[in-house]
C-alpha cells in the first residue's frame, strides 16, 4: 500500500492535496486495491457546491458501486475527464489520477484530516 507524505487522508480512503486555495481530491491506493478493476466513474458537474461529508461521485468496480465522499466544503472548479474515459487509470496510479478539484476556504476541516502516518496506521488497523 502506497501513501504519499504531502497529502491528507480520510477514513473513507480519500486523499486531499492542497495547492493554495485549491484542493485536489482522489481515492487512495488502498481504496483502488480494495475495489479491484475500476470500470466506471461518475463525477459531478463543474460549479457544484458540496458540504463536507457529501457524496460527490461514484466509483464502480466490476462487482459493485461505491460512493466517494468529499471531506471538506468546496465548489468544484475542475473534474478529471481522463478518468471518465479511462477509469483504469485510477488502478494504475491512484495519487496521480485525481477526481475533482475544488475551491476551499475552511482550513479547520483540513486540520481534522489524517496525516500520511496516521492514515497508514488506520489502514493497518482496518486489516485486523
Amino acid at each position: 500500500m502506497r501513501v504519499l507524505k504531502s497529502l491528507f487522508y480520510t477514513s473513507e480512503h480519500e486523499w486531499v492535496k492542497l495547492e493554495e486555495d485549491k484542493a485536489y481530491i482522489g481515492v487512495t491506493d488502498y481504496a483502488q486495491k480494495a475495489l479491484g478493476d475500476i470500470v466506471f466513474i461518475e463525477l459531478p458537474e463543474v460549479d457544484t457546491e458540496f458540504a463536507a461529508g457529501d457524496g460527490f461521485g461514484v466509483i464502480e468496480s466490476v462487482k459493485a458501486a461505491s460512493d466517494i465522499y468529499i471531506p471538506i466544503d468546496g465548489k468544484v472548479i475542475e473534474i478529471n475527464e481522463a478518468i471518465i474515459d479511462e477509469p483504469g487509470l485510477v488502478n494504475e496510479n491512484a495519487y496521480e489520477n485525481w477526481m475533482i478539484c475544488v475551491e476551499y476556504s475552511d482550513k479547520a476541516q483540513i486540520e481534522a484530516l489524517m496525516s500520511a502516518e496516521e492514515y497508514k496506521e488506520f489502514c493497518i488497523s482496518e486489516e485486523e
Partner: protein, 368 residues
C-alpha cells in the same frame, strides 16, 4: 467470516493470493489477480475454479429414474448412462426451488448437483417428495469437492494429467473413476462460463493435489486460478441463469426464458399444471437483454421504467469484460420486450436510457 465453512482448498486460496469473502456461508475467493484478467483467461486460455461449495445429492434405488423424472422439469428419459442434463426443480406454483445438473450413472443411480445456497432447502424438498418411490437419498455435499477447469485450452491441459481420452467425453457427458494426476475423479464436460471445459469431482482429501497439478500443467497455456467474481461475469455474458437473480421461487422458468428445459408434454412433474396454465394464458413478464445507451452500469435489483412507470427490475447487470459494454438482463412486462424497445434503468434515482437487445450477448464456445 469466522463462521464461514472452509473448502478443502482453503489453504490453496491463501497460497495463490485469493481475496476471500463469505459466499453462501462458504469462505471462497472472489478473485485472485483481478476479475477482468481472470475473465479473459477463461475466454482465451483457461481458468480453474474452486466450486466445492456446490451441493451433491445421490439418488439410488429401483425408482431413481421415476423419482428424478417427477422432480425436475426436463425430460430425463432421453438420457443415456453417463450423460448429464440441465434441469429445474419447481414448486407446485411453478416458482423455482433450484436449478441443477442431473447426472445419470445408471437407471438406478442419479447424481444431482445443486446450488450451495440452496443445499438444505433442496434436500428437504427432495425428501418431502420422496413419497412411495423406492429410493435412498443422500446429501453428500460435505464429502465432495469440486473444481471447474474452463476455457478453450481446458482439454489440452487436462489431457496432460490423464490417460482417459478426453475427446471421448462429449459435451454434457460424464465419466466416473477417471484418474487425474493419479486421483480418482468424476469428470463431466460441463460448466458455467460459456466455454468448453470440465467439472471435476473428488473427495476432500485429494482435491488439493488435483488443483495444484492442473495449475502446474497449465502454466504454458497461461491458466489462472479464478474466483467467484469472474464466474458470475462469465455466466452472465453466456446468459446462463443464476438462482436468486434470473430464477427464484417468485420467477418461473418460462418467465426466465428457460422453456427449452421445461418439457410440458412430459407425463408429470412437480409444477407442471401451473406452468401449462402460465403458457396457455401467455406470459405477463419476460426476461430480456438490454444495453445501456446512457453512461452507467446496471446492477442486480435496479428498477426498470418506461414513462416513469416501473415495469420490472434488473436481474443481473455488468460492464461486460468481453463486449466492453454496459449490459444487463431484466425481467419486465411483456409489452416492452420487443427488440429495440426503449426502456429506462433507474441508476441512483436517475432514469438512464437503455435499449432491449438479444439476450444472447456472447456466442457460447462449446465443443460439441
Amino acid at each position: 467470516m469466522e463462521n464461514a465453512k472452509k473448502t478443502a482448498l482453503f489453504t490453496s486460496h491463501e497460497k495463490y493470493g485469493g481475496k476471500v469473502i463469505d459466499f453462501a456461508g462458504w469462505a471462497l475467493p472472489v478473485q485472485y489477480k483481478g476479475i477482468i484478467p481472470e475473465h479473459e483467461a477463461v475466454r482465451n486460455a483457461a481458468g480453474l475454479f474452486d466450486v466445492s461449495h456446490m451441493g451433491e445429492v445421490e439418488v439410488i434405488g429401483k425408482d431413481a429414474f421415476a423419482f428424478v423424472q417427477n422432480l425436475v422439469t426436463n425430460d430425463i428419459s432421453v438420457l443415456e448412462d453417463n450423460q448429464v442434463m440441465y434441469a429445474l426443480m419447481c414448486y407446485e406454483d411453478g416458482g423455482v426451488v433450484d436449478d441443477l445438473l442431473v447426472y445419470k450413472f445408471t437407471k438406478d443411480y442419479f447424481y444431482l448437483v445443486i446450488n450451495a445456497s440452496n443445499v438444505d432447502k433442496d434436500f428437504n424438498w427432495m425428501v418431502s417428495n420422496k413419497g412411495d418411490f423406492n429410493i435412498t437419498l443422500e446429501n453428500i455435499s460435505l464429502k465432495v469437492s469440486e473444481v471447474a477447469l474452463q476455457g478453450p485450452k481446458a482439454q489440452e491441459i487436462l489431457q496432460k494429467l490423464t490417460d482417459t481420452k478426453l475427446d471421448e467425453v462429449k459435451f454434457f457427458c460424464c465419466k466416473r473413476d477417471v484418474l487425474i494426476a493419479g486421483v480418482k475423479c468424476l469428470i463431466s464436460r460441463t460448466g458455467y462460463t460459456g466455454e468448453d471445459g470440465f467439472e471435476i469431482y473428488s473427495d476432500n482429501d485429494n482435491i488439493a493435489s488435483v488443483w495444484d497439478r492442473i495449475l502446474e500443467a497449465g502454466k504454458e497455456e497461461r491458466i489462472m486460478p479464478c474466483g467467484l467474481g469472474c464466474r458470475d461475469t462469465l455466466r452472465f455474458e453466456a446468459t446462463l441463469p443464476l438462482y436468486g437473480n434470473e430464477i427464484s421461487k417468485d420467477i418461473t422458468p418460462l418467465e426466465a426464458g428457460l422453456g427449452y428445459f421445461v418439457k410440458l408434454k412430459k407425463e408429470n412433474f412437480i409444477g407442471k399444471d401451473a406452468l401449462v396454465k402460465q403458457k396457455e394464458e401467455g406470459l405477463v413478464r419476460k426476461l430480456v437483454g438490454f444495453e445501456m445507451k446512457d453512461k452507467g452500469i446496471p446492477r442486480h435489483g435496479y428498477e426498470v421504467a418506461v414513462n416513469g412507470q416501473v415495469i420490472g427490475f434488473v436481474t443481473t447487470g455488468y460492464f461486460s469484460p468481453t463486449l466492453k459494454k454496459n449490459i444487463g438482463l431484466a425481467l419486465i412486462n411483456a409489452e416492452y420486450t420487443e427488440l429495440g424497445s426503449n426502456i429506462n434503468i433507474i441508476v441512483r434515482n436517475k432514469p438512464l436510457k437503455a435499449e432491449v437487445i438479444n439476450k444472447k450477448f456472447y456466442n457460447k464456445n462449446y465443443k460439441k
